[in-house]
Symmetry: C2
Subunit: 460 residues, 2 copies
């Protein structure tokens, strides 16, 4: 990074924290209708801020719900256009009594800024805006063209955003070469890096029925099938307890092996199985034979029973043979699995293995998200890695996330846009929990990372 930009940021640092505190003071809780005015106030604050730092075409883009705050700077003709994504809504703060300082009265303690939204996502999107501000102030221009989209319903539902993207795909506000997702994190402050892939998700709920109604266990016990036991027998066919392998035929067909360079990179990350097990309160980590914990969480597909129930589900005894039992099975998917095909092979397996006397029906399927991957040698990833090294002053590495970030999949599927996940939330920053905070030194490194990223993208 140029010395002048770094100097600018150094001098602006206190003001930036003060501005971020203003933004955090607005309780923009999208899930609570009584915060409707706060949502509007927050959008207005951001509009004013975008104007202030020199963005153009600043305005609200209407959706079916809370509007998107938009601004752009499109004068880097030869360079790519980066669409910067963030969100201005926050999670509810409850239970407020567990906060050491009020959730919407930002407070700095020990170099950490505490407030709801500090790390998810106001602190991160504000860091990107601070980088743009510094570049525009120092250079009078940006190294590449930029569009800013800050949505207001990330914590609520993707429905309105999906409709917006669908309605506006191919139009000017979404015209870009790459999306920069600020709503993302790293493993530790000492190991900056870039998320190169997200797992997809597919789920199914089904029912086994063994009789017209529950039957008396004394009268009919021994002569009729038992739905929860049939369900147990069926679920037990899904996974090999010895190897952790999923036994659904065809499930692994499209799974792309984890490239060796990624396996090597992950192996160098700070991770300790015993520490993780202690933190989660599990007696032993468990998973697919032949893979490390990070590989299992990031690079391999999963099958989990997210819920199962049948018969009397409470204390005490009911003397019945339950007539029906239900389960919800969810799979996390990796490239190049297809959510719909996974549900097909799963349903085929369940139908084929349903015990005699148990009628199988699907209650619903959810082909929720397709897996997303950018190759570690993609120029955008290389630009992000170099930026993170510059911003953090340490070697950066590639890693993945096991969950889905719907916006990434929506950008890819609806708009055809690849995303780079370059954020710096840390796992202990109490996202969605009381005492959410952001480390101010990591915030500073994040600002520098974003500034460097735009330069690197221009030079790629």
């Amino acid at each position: 990074m140029e010395g002048a930009v770094a100097d600018y940021l150094e001098h602006a640092s206190d003001r930036h924290v003060a501005e971020l505190r203003e933004l955090l003071r607005i309780p923009s809780v999208s899930t609570a209708p009584e915060h409707g005015d706060d949502m509007a106030a927050c959008a207005q604050w951001l509009l004013a801020h975008l104007e202030r730092i020199g963005l153009e075409h600043v305005r609200l883009l209407e959706t079916g719900g809370n509007p998107i705050v938009y601004g752009d700077w499109l004068h880097a003709d030869a360079a790519p256009t980066v669409l910067v994504y963030g969100h201005y809504d926050v999670q509810p703060s409850a239970p407020d009594e567990l906060w050491d300082s009020p959730p919407f009265e930002p407070e700095v303690r020990d170099g950490r800024l505490y407030a709801r939204g500090a790390t998810d996502n106001k602190g991160q999107i504000f860091a990107a805006l601070a980088a743009l501000e510094a570049l525009l102030a120092v250079d009078g221009s940006l190294p590449c063209s930029v569009r800013i989209l800050i949505e207001g319903e990330e914590e609520l539902s993707a429905d309105n955003l999906t409709a917006f993207l669908t309605a506006n795909a191919g139009t000017e506000v979404l015209e870009a070469d790459l999306a920069l997702i600020t709503d993302s994190g790293i493993l530790a402050a000492e190991t900056p890096g870039v998320t190169t892939a997200l797992r997809g998700m597919a789920a199914m709920q089904f029912t086994l029925r063994t009789a017209a109604s529950d039957l008396h266990s004394g009268v009919y016990g021994g002569a009729v099938p038992n739905a929860p036991l049939a369900l147990a027998q069926l679920l037990a066919t899904l996974k090999d307890p010895a190897t952790g392998r999923i036994l659904v035929e065809g499930f692994y067909d499209d799974v792309r092996p984890i490239p060796d360079e990624e396996r090597r990179a992950w192996a160098s990350l700070p991770h300790d199985d015993a520490e993780l097990a202690a933190e989660l309160g599990v007696t032993s980590l468990a998973g697919e034979e032949g893979f490390t914990t990070l590989e299992r969480m990031w690079g391999r597909p999963t099958l989990d029973v997210t819920g199962a129930w049948g018969g009397h589900t409470g204390a005490g005894l009911k003397t019945i043979i339950p007539a029906e039992a239900h389960a919800t099975v969810s799979c996390r998917l990796v490239p190049d699995q297809d959510a719909e095909r996974v549900l097909e092979v799963l349903e085929r397996h369940l139908r084929a293995h349903a015990p005699a006397g148990a009628a199988f029906t699907v209650d619903w399927i959810l082909p929720g998200c397709w897996p997303i991957v950018l190759a570690a040698d993609d120029p955008a990833i290389e630009a992000a890695l170099a930026a993170a090294e510059e911003g953090f002053g340490r070697p950066a590495t590639v890693f993945r996330a096991g969950w889905s970030v719907p916006i990434v999949e929506l950008f890819k599927r609806i708009v055809g846009l690849d995303s780079v996940l370059l954020g710096f939330s840390l796992p202990d920053e109490n996202m969605h929990a009381p005492n959410e905070f952001i480390r101010l030194d990591v915030f500073d490194r994040g600002v520098r990372t974003y500034a460097a990223f735009l330069a690197n993208v221009a030079n790629r």
Copy 2:
């Protein structure tokens, strides 16, 4: 039966039905506190009736709850004493709108008397009283000594009765050679008979825990154990789906084989697998290889999952890896299984087979009931069989019931008293359901059966 007793009953028939209708008109619902006065009125009606037919020492025996109606006739010095058991409380009548005539306004239609309690148990205990009345009226005496105990909490709880029996075991009111349980039934009006055995029951609820709390299925999926899946794997070890055999080591150790003469007797009973399956809405009956349906329901032990649950138990998806799962397993037991020993071997199995990473804890155990059996060649059974043949005018047979009748086990365990189950409820008489009824012709045969039984016991 002597002609004089038969004649007496013939002449008294209309009055008996009128009296039974009076008894049925009293809504003695023990589970509803607002029926407290009705419970008292019902007990008073029975006291007056016992006096009227010539019993002695007629009084209420206090318990912690609704009192027991007591009377005796103890002048058959050389003959055994029979303790006649019944109950005067009834199930709630709801949903009343499904009754074709009001539940407490007894109505005769097509030879059937409709009312709540008609068959369970007012009609049956009244039949026993009618038999005593006839014998006393015609002969001036009974062939054997008799004590009547009619309790008021059979539909509520056995707690007060258990305390009463414990407090009064060895005292005069419980001094008897044999109990006659009127709260019992037969398979069809054309096949009278005697229940020679009841299954016992033992149950256990347990929990598997795999982590300190539910975990995010995207973040940790693939690396941690899943409680509902572990539960499924564990439950699946309990039974061989191919043979229906329970795989718990030691479970069958004390199981007494069904005597050949009983197997032959049961094979001659009216039973059709396809009809039963259709009635229950099961696609296929299922059970232990090598046994018929009646043998499975009456003479073999069972293991059923009466409830199982873990994770999100409702519609929709929750993206969790559930940290705990629960199940309740109940076993029906046959002679000579011991409820406590069965729970021991079951717990040992569950502990040994709990999947890695799943901590097993027992939430509660219920050694509910020990199995009860009287040999088919027991003199009391022979007396009852002969009485049923006389009362019904058809060959009588032995059968069993798969459920428990707590009073039988309590009499045996606390008072040391063997029971003969000689009732004539029929499976279609809507016990515990709307439109409960009793067939008046079967009622008449029941009265004759009871009269004959007392004579046969005296002559045994």
